[in-house]
Structures are given as structure tokens and as C-alpha cells.
Symmetry: C2
Subunit: 454 residues, 2 copies
């Protein structure tokens, strides 16, 4: 891969400029005003893939945002790697907390700052460029297929069905993706576990209009008070989730396994300082690493109701709403957990209010096999570039589509992410460290090489 | 008062047109963008009072919004009535629920529809017009003083101090105001009790930025979950408020008194239907009338935190906020209750979050003497116009300034309100029934007459 490495070095400025063009498209999938931008981002990828030298690239329509598919087939005697990524990004609120415009990427402090710089435009793009380099230099050792979706941040609603319909076209030996983080640049890691998710919008409805809190206060169930009490009833004082049956399928790991994942470095003081909190919190009986990686959680992502502007408006609001997210672990089933949540949440509503629950998205948890040839190839490539062997990492995040790939296509995935926890994905001031961008471009071709050799 | 009544009849259309001009000024005191409108509304009142024939009218500057003062002095041998009202109004959100523009008053279904139609522009204005009629017809039997403030909806921050400074100027035998409701047009009532209020903005602060709910979920105290649990801890399953010491000074009334206030009509089915709820709610051991009139309450008026727009954003928010209002009853002291609230609310915050509490306003509860000459005069006037004697009514609302009047000026107030519960004050589609507007204009001069004769 000597020529490939040289090509990457010579073209790095162009790669970054192209990435900046990609990032500048505000492709926020949860915002219905961004429909055109979704198409523009997909089109940008298609053109990039054509320029990189694929045999063919196409925009595939779905009921949601289009999927970009491309392939470069060398022959039947080569292994086939299916690259997955997503071109949609998270919303940018609160906008006033960004130090620079989220859609005007800029380089400062040796990082790229923008929404999508890491998740997942920056990381996805390294795969196109690594391919381009190998391909143009005649060093491509595997067949490659690409699929990029535009609905990852809203639950990948179209991708699963599309995979099912295109099972033959997507035939591959392994799926490779970069949509996760490493523990640190000094502690390279490969993600071996992902949490599942169940996400709900809930609404507690009381009176048919906002009421004067003096004239009605005392006789009307207040939707905010009620919603707060219902939320409080979802967890107990030990940080356990109280939904009946919630823990029934949770994998209780062996002491040996727990010891192995707890051997990863975790500095509580540094962690607290990095996010400005004075104490960590969580489920009784588990370490911070376990709470984040192999234990389920329930978090409120948003809440609203009544008067929230300046000053004091004295009302009992007509309704209150909240967004509730649960992270699930092996072997919880999000569909079963969703049913249990809905049943329990309705059961704890008092008389005098109505409860509406809408499931916004869901996905199964995933565990990888770190003894597979692909994992070993990834491990070797990381070792070459980072100078030490990667730690198997159980992430708290969710990429629900990973378990769908296994279900629909029968293909395992390798989660070779180059993000860092300081990248602030989903938050203001998202960024992607330039040295990690470089290392991604170096690691990916080595993965191809080692995997081809196995 | 025959000429007065005739004058009112002949000028009613003009009165309404003038009132509409007054209402059209969006004088929302809690909105800092409305500063000019506050001055315009005060100026409008000053001109109206001059046109009505006062000896002098002035705009009095304060640190907040100006107070309009005017007087018409017949002589020392006449009793003096001090009229109070307010020209500020509540905010209008949610705007999309209004059937017509809140600041373009219109008449439909025999009512005036607009923000302030009742509270308190409509009601205040009847006093100016009743005075104009008596004065122009030579039938004014009392000295009259007017004071209209522009901060009632935000806690009357300037009025109390202004009263103290102007004690001599404001000397009067009674204060008369219309800023309350009757039980119904068929069940005339005079308000004998008002609740006090203590209103807070609270904020629970967690991490220094919004975090990815997957990568951080399980180890970070989520400010929304925490705030919800803290709110839940403010009340118990019996609808009692759990703040230590909260009930210590609450007046426990005699069985006889409770029976008398419970003799007022209250149809639970009609009540539920009128606001679209399926069950009433409240403190165990008390009737609905008691819960609204003579028992304290704690209501959330607003809550916000995290992502509240369309779709699913998976974050642990950096903070969550709420607006908490308590209605207090005799003999609770809002300052003492406020201290106890702050102490308790901070004490129930878990490790890992910070709590900020801002007191937005407060006021003492009030109880009137319904054996006073002014109350009897008001009762006679209402009986003449409505055809039956008014019921003494203990309202759940708060007009904190009433107890300040007693404290600063040593003058008792008569709460002769002409609103109805269907007026939707503080809500979208506020309105004021035209027949109640007419009856106010008829009742006020009779009050002057009967009061002058006592």
C-alpha cells in the first residue's frame, strides 16, 4: 500500500476541501424542511464515488431519504467488503452555543469543527477517499460495495427494507463502517457492542385549554405535575428502571468478562471534569464502564409544557410532552420493551388526564465476534497505524441498523470508528480531530490488505 | 341615577369603541419588547380620564411601568372612593389557539373577544365610564381617585412602594376594584377572599453541554429526570404539598364556615365538561370549592429542557427549567413560604446537579370583611341590578396588591368583579360578556349612591 499512502498524502488538501463541501449541506434528517438538502447530500456522494472510480453509482429512492449505492467489482476470486455510512446529521440546537457556524466547517486547534465533521460525514468520507487512493494506485485488493443512507439519526426507517429487497446486490463477506469512537488516540479500540434503543414521544393531556392557575388550581390535575410524577416513577432510587419485565432478558455477564471490560482505562475525575459535573450517577452495583456499555438506561431527551418564555405566567397548562429514550443491551428486544413501556406508562397515569404515546424509533442491541477474520484484520491494521493493539470496546451508543444487517443480509459488521469522546457528536461544537482523519485514511487500506490475505 | 343610566345607554357604542382602542395596545407586562406599549396604554388612560372630567390626571414614573393617577374632588364632606385597575395584560401564547387576533377585539356571540377584554382592561374601563356618566350628569355623590398600574400580571413590583410614597394623596374611605369574577350571571357574587402567591423559576443544571444519550447514558444524572423527580417530591399521593412547615399557618375554618361556603352551587359534571376533563383532582379531605378557595396549591406553570422539536434527538440535556407557582391562603406568609420552598427544593437535589432558584413574584393572601358599610353598599347595588343578593365568594386567584393596600394605606378593598369563569382570562380566546359589561356600568353608580348614603 505504498503508492496508496503516497496518493493520500499528496491529495489530502483536496480531500478536506471536498469533505467541507459535503459538510456544508445541512442534511438534518429530523427536520422536514431539509428534504432538498438530503437529496443534495446523496447526489454529492454519488458524484464523489464516480470520481473515485466505482463501476457504477446510483441513487436509490425509498419512502424516506434516498440511499446511495455504488460498487467496484474486481472479480469473483476477491473478497467483498460492503461499506456502510450515513449522510444525514443531527439538528444543531442550541445554535447560540456553537463557536462557529455548524454548516461552515473550519479548521482550528487541529480539528475540523462542524455538524457532521465526525458523525458521520467525516468518517464516511474517509472510506470513499481510501478507496479512491487504492483504486487509482492499482492497489485495491477486494471488491467494494458502498451504501450510504440518510436516515440514521431518525432510526434508519428505509434501510432495513431496502436491504431485504436488494439482498443479492449487497452480497458481501463483511460490512465495514466507521460511525463510532475510539477510547482515545492513545488507546485505540474497536467497538464490539452497541446498545439498542426504544424512543418515545409522550403527551399528557389535561384540560381543553390553559387555565388560570389561581381560579382552577387545586381541582384540576396539572399535566406537568402529572408528567413529572410519571417520569419519576420510571426509575427508582437505585437507578433501576421500574418497568415490569424490563431486566428479564438482560445478559448478566460473567465476573471474568466484567473484569476484562473494567480493565479499560476510566479516570472518573477526568471524566467529570470533561463534562463539568460534580458526581457521576447510575445503576447501583455496576461500574461506570458497565453502566455505559452493558447496562440499559432510561433518559429524558426533552420535555415541554405550559409557559416557558420570560417572566411569570400563572397557568395550568392544557398538556405537557416529553421525549423518552431507552438504551437496551443484549438480549433485550426493543419491540417487547416498547410494549412493556407503553403498558406501564399508561398504567401509572392518574384519573383526569389522557396519555398519548408515539414510538419514534427502535433498534436491537448488537454484540460482535472479536475472533472473526475481519475483526483480526481490523485489529492488525489498527495496531500498525496506532502502534498498539486495539481494546475491544462495548459502546453505549446505538446503531440499530447493525443488527438489521445481520438479520436481513446475514453479514457481520466491523465497527472501525475513528471518533473521540471529545468530538461532541450530537452536541454543539462537533469536531473531528485531523490526526484521526489521517489515521483513518491510513488504517482502512491496511484493513483491506490484511482481510484480503486471510 | 336616572340621568346617569340614560347617558350610559346613549353613549354605549362610543364606550365600546374607546375600549377597543385601549385593548388594541398590546401592553404585555412580562414581555420586555412591549415597553413602549405600556407607556401608550398609560397615556390612553390618562386621556380617557381627562375626557371623563377628572380635576387632574397624571402619569407617575416608577422603576417599572408608569402608574396613572387621577382625581375628582367634590369636597371634604363627601366620602372618597379610590378606584384601582391595571392596564397590563398577560402574554398571548399559544397564538394559534386564538379564534381571532388577541389585539384586534371583535364582538361575536354577545361578547368582546381579545386579550384584556375582561382582565383587566374591560373591567377597569367600566369604572372610567361609570364615573364619566355620573360626573357629566351631575350625579356624582363621592370624591373619586383613580390609580391604574401596569405591572399587575408580573407582581405589581412598583405599586406598593408608590402607595407608601403617596399615602396622603391616596387617602380614601374604601378601595373599589373590578378584577375578579362572579360565580355566574345568575349567581351574582362578591369576592371576599383571595389567595396569595409565590412564583419561582427553577433550573437544574447537569453537564456543561448536551451529551449523546448513548455514549453518556447511565453515568450522568439527567437534568430532566432529576427535575421531574424533584417536582414529584413536592406533593404526595393525597395531593398534599410536602414542603416542611407549609401548612403550619393555614387557617383551618370551622365546620359552620365550611358549610356556608360549600352551600354555593358547584356542579361537578358541568365543571368537568366546561374544561374537558374526566375527573377532578385535589387535596384529600376537602371539597372542590374549598380546594379552590381556602386551600393552598402547588402548580407547575411551565417546563422545558432538551430537544423539543420534531423527531427524535438522542441527548442528555445540559439543563432543564420549570416555573412553579404556589397559591397561598390566610394566614400563610409568602416570604416565609418562599424561604421554606427554596430550602426544601435545594435539599431534594441529588449529587451531580446544580439547582438555581429565582423568585419571580410573591403576594400575601387576603380576606375581606363582609359586614362593612362598603360591602353592604356593594351588595345592595348588585342586588338591584342582578335581581338577587350576591354570594360571598372565596376566589382561588391572587391580587397580591390588595393586602399591600391594607398594609401601606390602611384601606380595605371591595372586590366587585364582573367577569365570568367562561371569560378564559390568561388563556387563548379571552372574552367579556356584553351583558356583564352593561351590568357593571349599571352597578358601579349604584354602589356610589348607596355608599354615599351610609
Amino acid at each position: 500500500m505504498i503508492k496508496t499512502r503516497q496518493y493520500i498524502k499528496e491529495n489530502k488538501i483536496r480531500f478536506l476541501n471536498e469533505l467541507f463541501e459535503f459538510i456544508a449541506i445541512p442534511s438534518i434528517s429530523s427536520d422536514s424542511r431539509c428534504k432538498t438538502e438530503m437529496i443534495n447530500a446523496a447526489e454529492f456522494l454519488r458524484e464523489s464515488l464516480i470520481n473515485a472510480g466505482v463501476d457504477r453509482a446510483e441513487i436509490c429512492q425509498t419512502n424516506g431519504n434516498p440511499i446511495v449505492y455504488a460498487e467496484r467489482i474486481l472479480g469473483d476470486n476477491c473478497k467483498t467488503i460492503l461499506i456502510y455510512g450515513h449522510y444525514d446529521v443531527m439538528p444543531t440546537e442550541p445554535l447560540n452555543e456553537w463557536k462557529s457556524d455548524p454548516f461552515k466547517p473550519e479548521i482550528r486547534d487541529d480539528a475540523i469543527w462542524a455538524r457532521g465533521a465526525d458523525d458521520d460525514k467525516g468518517q464516511s468520507f474517509t472510506h470513499i477517499k481510501a478507496f479512491e487512493a487504492m483504486n487509482k494506485c492499482g492497489e485495491l485488493p477486494c471488491n467494494v460495495k458502498f451504501m450510504f443512507e440518510g436516515e440514521e439519526e431518525i432510526g434508519s426507517g428505509s434501510l432495513s427494507g431496502w436491504c431485504k429487497e436488494n439482498k443479492d446486490k449487497l452480497k458481501a463477506d463483511v460490512i465495514l463502517l466507521s460511525d463510532t469512537s475510539m477510547m482515545d488516540e492513545d488507546i485505540p479500540s474497536i467497538t464490539c457492542g452497541l446498545r439498542g434503543i426504544a424512543y418515545f414521544d409522550v403527551k399528557v393531556k389535561g384540560p381543553n385549554r390553559d387555565l388560570h392557575s389561581g381560579l382552577y388550581g387545586g381541582v384540576v390535575a396539572n399535566p406537568i405535575n402529572v408528567l413529572a410524577s410519571m417520569i419519576a416513577k420510571l426509575t427508582d432510587d437505585n437507578g433501576k428502571i421500574t418497568i415490569p419485565g424490563f431486566y428479564d432478558s438482560v445478559n448478566e455477564f460473567s465476573d471474568e468478562f466484567r473484569a476484562s471490560i473494567n480493565s479499560a482505562p476510566f479516570n472518573e475525575e477526568e471524566f467529570k471534569q470533561s463534562i463539568g459535573i460534580t458526581a457521576i450517577y447510575g445503576e447501583y452495583g455496576y461500574t461506570a464502564i458497565e453502566r455505559r456499555g452493558i447496562r440499559p438506561t432510561l433518559d429524558l431527551c426533552g420535555i415541554s409544557g405550559g409557559y416557558t418564555s420570560e417572566g411569570a405566567k400563572t397557568i395550568i397548562p392544557s398538556y405537557a410532552s416529553a421525549k423518552i429514550s431507552m438504551r437496551l443491551v443484549a438480549n433485550q428486544n426493543y419491540e417487547k420493551i416498547s410494549e412493556e413501556f407503553v403498558k406501564y406508562f399508561k398504567s401509572i397515569a392518574p384519573e383526569g388526564v389522557q396519555v398519548e404515546i408515539v414510538s419514534l424509533h427502535g433498534g436491537q442491541p448488537y454484540m460482535a465476534d472479536h475472533n472473526s477474520p475481519a475483526y483480526i484484520a481490523a485489529s492488525e491494521a489498527v495496531t500498525d497505524v496506532f502502534g498498539k493493539a486495539p481494546v475491544p470496546f462495548y459502546s453505549g451508543g446505538s446503531i440499530p441498523i447493525i443488527s438489521s444487517f445481520e438479520k436481513e443480509l446475514g453479514i457481520k459488521s466491523i465497527l472501525l470508528g475513528f471518533g473521540l469522546s471529545s468530538d461532541a457528536i450530537h452536541s454543539p461544537n462537533e469536531n473531528f480531530r485531523l490526526s484521526m482523519f489521517d489515521k483513518a485514511l491510513e488504517t482502512i487500506p491496511l484493513f483491506y490488505k490484511y482481510y484480503a490475505e486471510k
